[in-house]
């Protein structure tokens, strides 16, 4: 928590955390210079599963690249596809039926809850509590089943198409989603009782790894990392897109700036996502899910376009530079965890290693999403 009285630069040693370390949740390596239990310096090494999605984006046509987006973030794939289809629709001037947008919002929020649940379980497991993971995975399973029924896959969903959706939702999905909402609310009470109030859990997080709003701004942090530091920033509210202006929901913001605040933000977000799903199901209009006129090969007028969306991990941005051809001239994917992870090096100096690992967990890392 507090920096050691005197760091001894002459007696430090190097500790490699990762690339195959359970606490990093993926192939991430942090080279730490240690003075006993204290971190003097840290250097994050990434790129172990870099796949060069951006080059693939230039080589494939717009439709061929669709499925790549769901391979970026394996826990919250739908949010990433959403950003991509919104950008192309905006740039190419494709109209989307209202029903499709509502279903997109509902499924993105379901996916966000699934992602937060997995993070919750893994995060508590990092801190030594194993059973919450089992409960969280059970609740997540309901969502995966629901999404599997309509999208055909359990993890790397490629459900959205330019102009709409691949498949309409049926009554079973709507009924399952309605059943899920009260069940999830009961579970949340259980989680708060089991974990949030736990004294060991709180002592590991309270006051640990304070991130000032200034650090967040300099590094471009978003999601719970920014909102746990008192920054009221959520792309769904700041730059409303899709049908989000139609929904009544709040953006949870905590001002303590510590790891517990980041935990609290995500837990509170699950309830807000439930509210969006509830309203989405109530308001779900009928009608088609794809434009009536069948789309031919997509072509985007020359220019430079940008679209940001709020995924489970923060502000995800897609930049498209088009020269009017069949493939993008340049497609940049701005990954939120990339910026969130970057501030780790600077912030963990002087921290105990066990606090640093708790801090890393509170950042909600998904490594394929950093490496792209």
């Amino acid at each position: 928590m507090s920096a050691p009285i005197k760091l001894r630069p002459d007696e430090t040693f190097i500790l490699n955390v990762g690339p195959q370390h359970p606490a990093t949740h993926g192939v991430l390596r942090v080279k730490m210079e240690m003075d006993g239990e204290y971190i003097v310096n840290a250097e994050t090494v990434i790129g172990y599963i870099h796949r060069m999605h951006e080059k693939m984006g230039e080589l494939k046509t717009y439709s061929q690249f669709l499925m790549n987006l769901s391979r970026m973030d394996y826990l919250g794939a739908l949010g990433y596809s959403h950003g991509h289809v919104l950008l192309i629709e905006k740039a190419a001037g494709i109209e989307v039926p209202e029903r499709a947008e509502y279903i997109r919002a509902i499924t993105v929020e379901l996916n966000r809850i699934a992602s937060h649940l997995f993070w919750f379980g893994a995060f508590v497991m990092d801190l030594g509590g194993f059973s919450p993971l089992m409960y969280a995975l059970q609740d997540r399973e309901y969502i995966l089943d629901m999404l599997e029924a309509i999208t055909g896959s359990r993890l790397t969903y490629s459900y959205y198409r330019f102009g709409g959706l691949y498949n309409d939702v049926d009554d079973d999905f709507i009924a399952a989603a309605r059943r899920f909402i009260p069940r999830m609310r009961t579970s949340m009470k259980k989680y708060h009782k089991l974990v949030t109030g736990n004294i060991i859990f709180r002592k590991r997080l309270e006051g640990i790894a304070p991130l000032t709003p200034e650090i967040c701004r300099k590094y471009g942090a978003s999601s719970a990392v920014a909102r746990g530091s008192g920054i009221n920033f959520d792309v769904r509210k700041n730059e409303p897109y899709s049908v989000y202006p139609e929904f009544d929901f709040d953006v949870p913001v905590f001002h303590e700036c510590d790891s517990l605040a980041r935990y609290n933000v995500r837990m509170a977000e699950i309830e807000q996502s439930l509210r969006i799903i509830e309203q989405g199901l109530d308001k779900l209009p009928g009608g088609p899910i794809m434009p009536e006129k069948k789309l031919k090969a997509i072509k985007v007028p020359p220019g430079d376009y940008y679209q940001a969306v709020e995924t489970a991990r923060g502000s995800f941005g897609v930049r498209l530079v088009s020269d009017g051809g069949k493939t993008p001239y340049r497609l940049k994917l701005r990954s939120p965890t990339y910026s969130n992870m970057h501030l780790f090096d600077e912030s963990c100096r002087g921290m105990l290693i066990m606090d640093a690992l708790a801090f890393m967990g509170s950042l909600d890392l998904v490594i394929p999403e950093i490496d792209r």
């Binding site: 990434i46 790129g47 870099h50 060069m52 951006e54 080059k55 230039e58 080589l59 950008l87 905006k90 740039a91 001037g93 709003p213 967040c216 701004r217 300099k218 590094y219 471009g220 942090a221 920014a226 920054i231 009221n232 920033f233 509210k237 700041n238 730059e239 007028p301 020359p302 220019g303 430079d304 376009y305 940008y306 679209q307 940001a308 502000s315 941005g317 930049r319 530079v321 009017g324 001239y329 340049r330 940049k332 701005r334 990339y338 910026s339 970057h342 501030l343 600077e346 490496d371 792209r372």
Partner: protein
């Protein structure tokens, strides 16, 4: 509010070019329709500030600066409390130029997205680093160096980040064959 202030501040970087028209461009769709009729070679864009239609392009201000003006432009945004969203490059091989694009956004509800872009010759792509202003630019610049070979002068640690440590190629260059 912020939009007007930032626009004026950025325009202040171009004192000589007061005659440069700062007008909102027509939406891209019309652009395309026009260019289909008259396929003429596009003039290179002069440095300056252009307003963009947020609904079409997704950002409000688009400033093209020279590499020498870059630090000043970024400092302006830093003072106005913008946060850095990303840095990337584009390889304009036909024009023999590399473009570096900086994205900035705000945390408050005074929505104003700013894009700063600068162009350097392809044979010697060097731009000054902005890591002294935004520490978070560090990885973004390393990534851009990986992908395009653009050098960021003064960067504290310009080694491969996403590519293997012995990589001697830059995959997003248009002359790189897969």
């Amino acid at each position: 509010m912020i939009f007007e202030k930032t626009k004026q501040a950025l325009q202040g970087l171009f004192p000589q070019s007061e005659k440069t028209p700062v007008t909102a461009l027509p939406p891209a769709q019309e652009d395309a329709a026009e260019s289909k009729k008259t396929p003429k070679k596009e003039e290179p864009r002069p440095d300056g500030v252009v307003e963009r239609d947020y609904k079409v392009h997704g950002y409000h201000l688009d400033a093209q600066v020279s590499p020498a003006q870059l630090l000043e432009a970024v400092s302006l945004l830093d003072k106005a409390e913008f946060f850095i969203e990303s840095i990337t490059g584009v390889d304009w091989i036909k024009e023999d130029q590399m473009e570096v694009i900086y994205d900035f956004n705000r945390y408050d509800f005074d929505l104003c997205r700013v894009v700063i872009r600068t162009r350097v010759p392809r044979s010697n792509p060097v731009v000054p680093t902005i890591t002294d202003i935004y520490a978070g630019a560090n990885w973004h610049e390393r990534e851009t160096h990986d992908f395009f070979g653009i050098k960021f002068d003064g960067h504290p640690h310009l080694i491969p980040l996403l590519l293997p440590e012995d990589a001697d190629y830059h995959p997003l260059c248009k002359d790189f064959k897969v």
